[in-house]
Amino acid sequence: MFLPSVALLAALLTWSLVAIPHFGHYRGPYGFVLNRVVLPERHMTNVVTATVFDYRGFDTMGEEFILFIAVTGVVLLLREQDRDESSDSEDEIGSDAVRVGGSLAVGVCLLVALWLIAFGFVTPGGGFQGGVALASSLVLVFLVASHKAWSGIASEEVLDPFEGVGAGGYVVVGLAALIGGMAFLTNLLGPGTPGTLYSGGSAPFVNWAAGTEVAAAFLILFMEFIEAYVVPLA
């Protein structure tokens, strides 16, 4: 059973390799077209972010809701677990070096994350990448401070509104175009000045919505898993 499967898989992989274009000889045309038209049309200098939040904006909305639904699923699956309420008493980090260095790292990571989101359509970055970095910078609080400090950030009361606003804000930007008599998620507000924060029309708003949604979603995931896996071991 094993050998025939391997032979079949090897045959399929070889077959697909033969037909694929040679490495470095991308045939296009969509990539070439986008690289040409994005800057004149939208004044966004990061073509990848422009593709994600403008030209493929509708797909990205679906993607955002995949994340939203998956997080809802995880919260539902893990909510039955018994939570040990007494465990957050004696988990202070003893080392001063860890506390000081870690706290500095939290600030640096937070700034980098906000820069990644804010300038996501100008320089490398974007709502998704920056959102993950934002969530990671706050998870650092759990690592370098106490569980108590972490649960001040990571509570349903704090995170759920952000996740809702992130997911809903994306749809609201889309509906705004619909109210204006244009197609859903049509880019509004004019292109602005290339290479500055004032560019890209309504795409920066969608970008921020995605960043908020991703950061809140990741923090909720971390919160649920820390409660379910780590706290019972402490």
Partner: protein
């Protein structure tokens, strides 16, 4: 070597599949699945590479400079997000399985239910 990136993608895919098939632990299995999925990132980026092309970002770079395909890069971004959500769901399910029947071994789950 113009086929090397594709071979790397194929190797990552196969080694991940091997891990899934031989896995004796649900968390190990979930990680192997993400290894398999990583091969699609390599494949997508390799398909969109243009010989001598720079990143598709035109801040301080003249428009019309040779750049790689931005579409496959945005697809890779989607791919990573989906991978993470799937991983989160599998880990949550694994935790549920463990609290139900006290095992993480996929084979033993089948035995206990059969």
């Amino acid at each position: 070597m113009s086929v090397l990136p594709y071979l790397v993608a194929g190797w990552i895919c196969v080694i991940g599949l091997y891990g899934i098939v031989t896995s004796r632990d649900l968390i190990h299995l979930a990680l192997c699945l993400t290894v398999t999925q990583s091969s699609t990132y390599v494949l997508l980026l390799a398909v969109g590479y243009v010989q001598g092309g720079g990143p598709p970002i035109f801040k301080g770079v003249e428009l019309g400079t040779t750049a790689v395909d931005p579409v496959v890069q945005s697809l890779t971004l989607t791919d990573i997000v989906v991978s993470v959500t799937v991983l989160a769901l599998i880990l949550a399910l694994a935790l549920d399985v463990h609290s139900e029947i006290e095992t993480m071994d996929p084979d033993r789950i089948v035995e206990l239910q059969g």
